[in-house]
């Protein structure tokens, strides 16, 4: 498994943990208090920890080998573009859904803006990791 494959699987695991832990915490908080403030941090902290992934898995597979090559960088670049595109479409969907569900000129709480950004961030992280995994799977089939 190449370095970027390991990073992708690690990112998917962290994102899944964020979704499960965050959803559970928010559900429990809503049940107890009727509103949620602490539960959202269960999304933010794991996603923030993903910023450490460039420093992980740096050891080459063999003593004479390299940690990353040009194909890895090309796949990572493609995954980054697709992830940013996916987060853009998430923003469109979130804004359009809000507009339709609450109606025109209706006030919404300002903290929903932060949650939309969080959703875009989570979308980008998951799509980035999934794209890397799929690209390597396709490349492996070709070989």
């Amino acid at each position: 498994m190449t370095r970027y494959q390991k990073i992708a699987w690690f990112s998917l695991a962290i994102s899944a943990t964020a979704v499960i832990a965050g959803s559970t915490a928010i559900a429990i908080e809503l049940h107890i208090r009727g509103y949620s403030t602490i539960g959202w941090w269960f999304f933010v902290v794991p996603l923030a920890s993903l910023q450490l992934t460039p420093h992980l898995f740096k050891k080459p597979l063999s003593p004479a080998g390299v940690a990353t090559d040009e194909r890895d960088l090309m796949i990572d670049s493609k995954a980054s573009r697709i992830a940013l595109g996916a987060s853009y479409f998430f923003f469109i969907a979130a804004c359009a859904t809000l507009w339709v569900s609450v109606g025109i000129d209706t006030p919404i709480p300002a903290y929903w803006l932060g949650r939309i950004i969080l959703g875009g961030w989570l979308t980008a992280a998951i799509v980035h990791a999934l794209t890397i995994t799929i690209c390597y799977a396709w490349a492996g089939k070709g070989e």
Binding site: S77, L84, Y88, C95, A96, T106, P107, I108, A110
Partner: protein
Amino acid sequence: MTEREEAWVGLLLGGPILLIPTVVAVFIAYDRGLSFAPLLMFTATVLWGGLLWLLPYIQRRLRKYKKEVTFDERDQLIHKRIVMAAYVALWTYFVAACVTTWCVVGPNGSISVNVMLLILVGGLVLFNSAQGLAGLILSGRSQKGDKE
């Protein structure tokens, strides 16, 4: 049309071409209430604006039978960088717009839902403008390299 000409067209016309249908859709929604037509118009324009960067790849596939090279590997590389720069600008804008709005009204304040639409339309115009600007800069650099 050369790369620089395409970049100028994108920079100058990209914003108005996307702004006009979205403003019309919002006007119809205000005048006659929110219905399927303005929502479809708005969503289609925003999606089209976000996917416009795929046009060179589609053109390349359609012109494959003509055996003329209009979009070679260098153009592809420049185009990838342009799209990446535009997406980074878009993300920065979204975060800045949302955080600024949140700071201005306060964490417990409320905003009109129309602010979301304004942020989205602004992001769309910025996305296409950033593509045009990045295209001008990168195609200008590559032409300088050719002359040398």
